[in-house]
Amino acid sequence: MNTSALVEHPVRSSARRPLLLAGAAVLWIVAYRVNLRWWDWVVYDVAGLDPDTRLGSAVHFFLYDTTKIALLLTGVIFVVTIARSFMSVERTRALLGGRREGVGNVVAAGLGVVTPFCSCSAVPAFIGFVAAGVPLGVTMSFLIASPLVNEIAIVMLLGLFGWKITVLYIVGGTTIAVVAGYVLGRLRLEKWVEPFVFETRLHGEPIDSSAQLTWDDRIDMGIEEVRTILLKIWPYLLVGIGLGAAIHGWVPEQWIADHATSGLWGVLVAVGLGVPLYSNAAGILPLVETLHDKGLPMGTVLAFMMSVVALSMPEMVLLRRVLKKPLIVTYVAVVATGILAIGYLFNLVL
């Protein structure tokens, strides 16, 4: 039998790696800095489009935004994945075990933001938490925060709206997760959890997936994650930026002002549209940016984005295996109410 090809470690010379990473970082900074000037030159000087025409500004917007967001995603996902490789769902559960509601909700929401977690694992994680004695509402805070405040949303907000809006989003999203989880816990909804969850006996010996990783492993994970995420989201990203560019160039501001009143109904309509819609932050944010440029208030725009990323049909279908329908409906209603409240609050203060 010939196993040499598999046994040999892949070529990754640790000695040269820091140099390569430093080189990549310098290239990244340069690319990010010259992005605007580069597309100014290509679109307006080389291609000869007029910046004052709809076509010119739409083409420029599309190319510039695509490059900027691709760069931001690559850089931040790489760094965040490495930082997160020191955390794991197992460690999170250990940190939550024995916590009471209240403090537990706050800790769970915070951990939901930093723990590497894929919504495809939502069901085993839910069972694992609840069977280990983590209260239902605390588990919910974790499950709400995880998709709502995720690294892609943070990166894109940072790139498109700056750090103030980003901080508001993180604080707002975490607050929703804390309060919604607390409310769901207080409602005593355990009767609507499928009984087998409480009967599950944990017989395996849990292993900590963050333990025993070398720096090389963590860097490999970072590279792999960037690749996976970019491959997964590029169609959403291009459609989102394309739509954004079209609105940017062709929809007049007056139209938005006429049709999307900033008053009472704006946020309600935004959340009503956002809940059934499902996309990731990468697809929705370029659209959000354009709508905001056209005069839609920040609270309305953020409420729309939150309802798109936090509540998704695929995840509800998965959760249906462990939660009965009334609990799923309550879950959606409580989270949507939280998003509405945050939307109105942001419209008031911003």
Partner: protein, 79 residues
């Protein structure tokens, strides 16, 4: 050897299964490979991040796909 792959059907779970089959074939191991997709059963193993790999009733990897080299070492090291 009894190998179980725990996964809810995500892309990484399929990758782990494929890789495991390749390594088992390359090492010419006498092994049975089962896929566990039931979330209750996955959780009962104490696994909360899929995919996970179980060798003879012991969880050896969870939450990520080990490299081919690591997987070979794991599989070759078990009698």
């Amino acid at each position: 050897m009894d190998i179980k792959i725990l996964g809810t059907g995500c892309a990484k779970c399929q990758k782990l299964e494929q890789l495991t089959r390749e390594v088992v074939a390359a090492l010419a191991l006498d092994a049975t490979i089962d896929k566990v997709t039931d979330p209750g059963e996955i959780a009962a193993w104490g696994v909360m991040a899929t995919p996970a790999l179980i060798l003879d009733d012991r969880v050896v990897a969870a939450g990520r796909v080990p490299s081919a080299a690591d997987l070979t070492a794991l599989l070759a090291g078990t009698p």
